[in-house]
Subunit: 167 residues, 2 copies
């Protein structure tokens, strides 16, 4: 067994978006189509962006900086009943790491113009990885409680629920 | 601008796999088809696994616990020339967070039998998220320097390169 010790990360940049509050923000990139933002990478990492312009999409990993204490069962935006936290993308998690796929429109120096942005303005960026669907090696798949919510997934926006103090 | 302060996470469990060293390990899940492992979640989080059994796949986010100092240009496994770090999945990163999509075979108590495992045995787990391709909202996409390497992507295994001390 590994020794369990804290893992310390630091932001490599910040994500700029039109969303300064959670209300009305799209809750995943599919509902955020066309919404533009900017990744502002700290200058020291700029060389690491080489070759990224060949990719149309990237994963952004970021810190849910406004997340609150988590609960292990939550009522997700796309449902009206409690679901296990790890079957949802709720921001209040033991390690509040967010994951989004964004379109890369233009990279210039340390700035990346992105599209399909479903994150809050000022979100601390942790990592950028190229999006390569083939790598996941997924053929057919099931999506559990979300199966009947494919339509809604394309449009749903957040509300206040994850701002409530945890019970 | 947000104040930049360290972000502290702690493992919520550990990933068990047949790979005790980097050599020979598949470098992404597509090359790890059929390879089995286990997520062992810390008992305190078990309730958060409810409803995950409806999903066939999940994202695992984990800490590359053996990662070394990063370089902003690396020669990736699938290439013979240097590429910008953020256009690769190399494990040595400013924040060494790994991301894999795995198949979920069986969830029992705090253990999840998984398949398509491309991580080292003993890797500290940070988060589990349901895999929902529709959420990414990606239609057509480009994969840059990887375009001509789709075949190889299905089989490539790692070698020693990321064990070398950074220059």
């Amino acid at each position: 067994m590994e020794t369990i010790q804290p893992i310390v990360y630091k932001p490599i940049g910040v994500i700029r978006s039109p969303f300064s509050t959670l209300e009305g923000m799209p809750i995943q990139p599919s509902a955020a189509r066309g919404i533009k933002g900017t990744v502002v990478l700290n200058e020291e990492y700029v060389e690491g962006l080489s070759d990224l312009d060949g990719f149309s999409h990237a994963y952004l990993l970021y810190h849910f900086h406004l997340s609150k204490a988590f609960k292990l069962r939550v009522v997700p935006f796309l449902d009206d009943q409690q679901r296990g936290l790890f079957s949802t993308r709720a921001p209040n998690r033991p390690n509040p790491i967010g994951l989004s796929v964004v379109r890369l429109n233009r990279i210039e120096s340390n700035r990346i113009d992105i599209e399909n942005v479903d994150v809050l303005d000022g979100t601390p960026l942790l990592d950028i990885k190229p999006y390569v669907a083939e790598m996941a090696g997924v053929r057919d798949y099931r999506i559990g409680w979300l199966t009947d919510r494919r339509e809604e997934m394309q449009s749903k926006r957040s509300d206040r629920r994850f701002r409530e103090p945890p019970e």
